[in-house]
């Protein structure tokens, strides 16, 4: 049954990871919509962006006083996305490799609890407390990764065990108590803003980078004879992201804490953006990232090409653990205290974000960009439904249904393509 050119995989459209140099549109697999033929991969990205905008507009006009896209709520929404987003970046790398991590919600609870205990009960300073929390999360990631990679215990089982065990540990350590954060600098990690000037500085740097990268990519394409890009397309590629950046910073800066006091970007969002950029760079522009896609795509071929699979799986779980630690700090700081049940179900939010963003649970495909969009969609649903005062039980049902429907639509689209 192993005949040439007959594998179902062959029909799959390219993973965005492949588009190191974006391929001339005429060579990409296309999907026909009415009279138009649109490159499938682009279509998927556009669909997601469109879905997100549609959700925002819907919520905006469905909430009382149309407050969803209000600067205040928008700022809040971004801050809520930060935790899921940081976790989704780590989860993406885990899933690309063909693994899964179900324990991160519990790790967030444990690491946040330990940081809170360190500063509250032991009287440690800010640095040591944060290091304790992140260090524990990192160690857990390394431990679980080691079990999965070197003892061949399926990651699903290792981390399912972790989901229970780490939650148990924090319940025991905290004696069931909620521990308040006393150090103001700790809280500011979750609650403060960087101010409008920093925001515009970041915008300026981002705009410069967008222009530089677009131009150098065009040059690279010309060098490799992949056809020149028309001026219109180039302009669109430069102006669209710039518009997003400027709009984003503008929204963030229009939120006024008090009359005349502009807020700027929330600190958690800054951290999240930094992690997202680092994650995108790591997955797209390094040998490490390429190896992750190779391992997830075909572990046998990866191994025989000289890739140390165990080492990479271990590394990916370490990154996931470290990011779970970081997320726990943001989460604890935002809430202002660590409760032993903090972070429950966060693993599912992170997995859902990846999957909605086009990541395959079979491994080998998915992008940081997609995972971030997925995280935004998930947190927008949470935020919007809460504003609409949808009952919590209905929220759960709706989120579950949307997750399944999103992947169902994606699969249907993939089959047609």
């Amino acid at each position: 049954m192993n005949d040439s050119a007959n594998s179902p995989k062959a029909d799959r459209p390219p993973a965005t990871s492949d588009l190191v140099i974006s391929e001339p549109a005429e060579l990409m697999p296309r999907t026909r919509i009415g009279r138009f033929k649109i490159p499938t991969e682009l279509l998927r990205a556009y669909t997601m962006v469109f879905a997100l905008v549609a959700i925002w507009v819907y919520f905006h006009y469905s909430t009382d006083n149309q407050i969803f896209l209000d600067p205040r709520n928008f700022s809040n929404l971004m801050r809520q996305t930060a935790v899921t987003g940081v976790l989704a970046v780590g989860m993406l790398m885990v899933i690309i490799t063909g693994q899964i991590d179900l324990s991160i919600g519990s790790i967030v609870g444990l690491a946040g609890g330990i940081a809170a205990i360190a500063q509250g009960w032991m009287g440690w300073g800010l640095g040591p407390s944060l290091s304790a929390g992140i260090g524990v999360a990192l160690a857990i990631g390394a431990f679980q990764g080691g079990l999965a990679a070197y003892l061949n215990i399926p990651a699903f089982i290792v981390t399912l065990g972790g989901l229970l065990a780490w939650r148990g540990v924090i319940l025991g350590l905290s004696r069931g108590e909620t521990i308040p954060i006393r150090i103001p600098a700790f809280k500011s990690i979750g609650q403060d803003y960087v101010g409008p000037t920093v925001g515009w500085t970041i915008a300026a740097i981002a705009i410069a980078l967008i222009i530089f990268m677009t131009l150098s990519r065009n040059r690279a394409r010309r060098r490799h004879g992949l056809g020149a890009v028309s001026l219109g397309v180039t302009l669109a590629r430069v102006l669209a992201p710039i518009a997003v950046v400027v709009g984003f910073i503008f929204m963030m800066n229009s939120y006024e804490l008090a009359p005349g006091v502009k807020a700027g970007i929330p600190v958690p969002v800054i951290i999240f953006l930094a992690i997202a950029l680092a994650g995108a760079f790591l997955t797209q522009n390094t040998t490490f990232g390429r190896y992750l896609y190779a391992i997830g795509g075909n572990p046998d071929a990866a191994r025989l090409s000289g890739i140390n699979i165990r080492k990479h799986i271990l590394a990916v779980f370490c990154i996931m653990g470290g990011l779970a630690g970081l997320a726990s700090i943001i989460y604890t700081a935002r809430v202002g205290s660590a409760s032993p049940d903090a972070g429950q179900l966060l693993e599912l939010d992170a997995i859902a974000a990846c999957v909605i963003g086009g990541t395959s649970l079979m491994g080998g495909r998915g992008t940081v960009f997609g995972a971030i969009l997925g995280a935004l969609i998930m947190s927008s649903l949470d935020n919007g439904m809460s504003l609409m005062r949808v009952e919590p039980y209905s929220q759960m049902i709706i989120k579950g249904a949307i997750l399944v429907a999103a992947v169902g639509l994606d699969m249907a689209g993939r089959k047609r393509a």
């Binding site: 005949d3 490799h224 046998d300």
Partner: protein
């Protein structure tokens, strides 16, 4: 079967083949690998359902269009494929009745299942306990269980695809005994084999396929081995192996790879020895062919040297005079070994990634940089390789899975050439690719050897091994049973060693 056609992307596998089979007849189907035998059988078996092929299938004079394997089975067509399709963890009885277990209200009647399995096996004079797990059986016995399974379908048309590839002489005889019995009962059988002596021994008629077309149908008595081979090949052998190697004596060149007393044990059944004390060496610019039947340990030997075998490996390996303790493919690659593995889809390629990503994978750090990747360097390297090997793809960003088999194979070859190896292993480098691509790969092998690369070539196609190699090493059940030079390597002599009938003093 009338005017059957079947296309794969980029390859026409069958171009109007007609084939007929009478009850009580054994009709042999012969042809080179890639001639279209397996594809024809898959059309008959419903693997490619109706509109995927052209032409018509008539059974008892009526046209049948199968929507799937099940429908073909219902009409009494049973196929025993080259790759065994038994579930190793299940017992013989469970396998025979898989999916058709006798049951009451969905509950399996185990007693009856084993009783019926026992009767079937008895009928074939097989002394196999139906309660034995299949994994405990030898490959030959498994083949016979497959036949029992086919018979349990009350098959009227039985297709045997290379049934003797892994059988010992005695097992072949008992198989032929069974086939004769089935013929007497009126079953029609299609017998596919490369072993012409067996074909002449068992068949009533012979059909020869070449490049997806029927090139001859005659009663067996009217053929002889020479006429069959002439039809199969249909062209000068020299054409396929362009400028066959340098013919030069390599005794002067330096030894690149030296392998001494390598033994490999099965990773699961540790008392089973897969490779037994094999030694060989390859010099610069030399092509060493390794011949042997399926399961002779050829791939295990290469995997072991490459540090990719899961079983226990002992022995000494030297590369360019330095002894080498290879425990991982990464180490082997660093020392200059490249390995075009068999089964490109399983072991070679990331099918849903680009040609570029595949070509640069093994040599990524060398080509692109230790940590941060350099797109320009990668694009240049893969474009160069694409031109050099004449890979037919629209660009380096084409998805590898959409290429034809031959071009996929070239991508794998490019991947290893881009690691800059000093010795290159090729394991079944032309399996399942069309004749044109084969010739190009042969030409590449010669070119690489002339450029000074040491090459170890494993192939099940004897003409390929003989046509390309300067020396031939023959393995039989893990042991080296013969070594030949180009001058002494005749098909008969090599085959005799490969089947274990003759053992040269090493």
């Amino acid at each position: 079967m009338r005017d059957i056609t079947k296309d794969f992307p980029g390859v026409r596998a069958l171009g109007g083949v007609s084939f007929d089979l009478h009850p009580g007849e054994i009709h042999a189907l012969v042809g080179e690998n890639g001639a279209g035998k397996s594809t024809l059988i898959k059309v008959l078996a419903g693997v490619y359902p109706f509109p995927e092929y052209g032409g018509e299938i008539l059974i008892d004079g009526n046209e049948k269009r199968f929507a799937g394997i099940r429908e073909a089975e219902k009409l009494g067509i049973a196929v025993i494929y080259q790759e065994l399709s038994l579930v190793k963890e299940m017992t013989v009885g469970e396998n025979i009745f898989l999916g058709r277990e006798p049951r009451t209200w969905g509950v399996i009647r185990w007693e009856e299942l084993y009783r019926r399995a026992h009767r079937l096996l008895d009928d074939l004079h097989l002394s196999i306990d139906p309660r034995t797990p299949v994994r405990n059986l030898g490959i030959g016995q498994q083949q016979l269980v497959e036949i029992a399974k086919a018979l349990s379908h009350e098959a009227r048309i039985l297709v045997l695809d290379e049934p003797t590839a892994a059988l010992t002489q005695t097992e072949v005889e008992s198989l032929f005994h069974i086939l004769n019995k089935l013929r007497a009962r009126g079953a029609g059988m299609i017998y596919i084999s490369h072993k012409l002596n067996e074909v002449f021994q068992i068949s009533d008629r012979i059909t020869v396929l070449r490049d997806g077309k029927t090139v001859g149908v005659n009663p067996t008595a009217e053929w002889n081995e020479t006429s069959v081979i002439a039809r199969m090949v249909g062209r000068e052998v020299g054409n396929i192996f362009p400028g066959a190697a340098t013919a030069a004596d390599h005794a002067e060149s330096e030894v690149v790879l030296e392998v001494q007393n390598v033994s490999v044990k099965d990773p699961v059944v540790t008392r089973k020895v897969l490779v037994d004390n094999v030694s060989f060496s390859v010099r610069r610019g030399e092509v060493l062919g390794i011949a042997g039947l399926m399961g002779a340990g050829r791939s295990d030997l290469l995997m072991a040297i490459f540090g990719a075998h899961d079983g226990a490996v002992t022995g000494k390996i030297k590369i360019n005079g330095r002894s080498l303790d290879v425990r991982s493919p990464a180490g082997a690659i660093k020392q200059g070994i490249g390995f075009v593995t068999e089964d490109r889809k399983r072991f070679g390629l990331l099918l849903d990634q680009t040609v570029l990503n595949n070509m640069t994978l093994a040599g990524l750090r060398r080509i692109s940089g230790r940590f941060v990747t350099n797109v320009d360097a990668e694009a240049a390297a893969s474009e160069g390789a694409m031109k050099e090997l004449r890979v037919k793809a629209r660009s380096i960003l084409t998805i590898t899975g959409t290429l034809s088999g031959g071009n996929q194979q070239k991508v794998v070859l490019a991947k290893w050439l881009l690691t800059n190896p000093s010795v290159l292993f090729l394991d079944e480098p032309t399996r399942g690719i069309d004749v044109g691509a084969k010739q190009e790969i042969y030409a590449q092998i010669n070119k690489l050897a002339r450029a000074g690369l040491a090459i170890v070539l494993v192939s099940s196609e004897l003409p390929e091994v003989l046509g390309l190699s300067d020396r031939v090493l023959v393995l039989h059940e893990g042991r080296a049973t013969g070594e030949f030079t180009r001058a002494t390597a005749t098909p008969e002599a090599v085959m005799a060693c490969a089947t274990g009938q003759v053992q040269q003093a090493a």
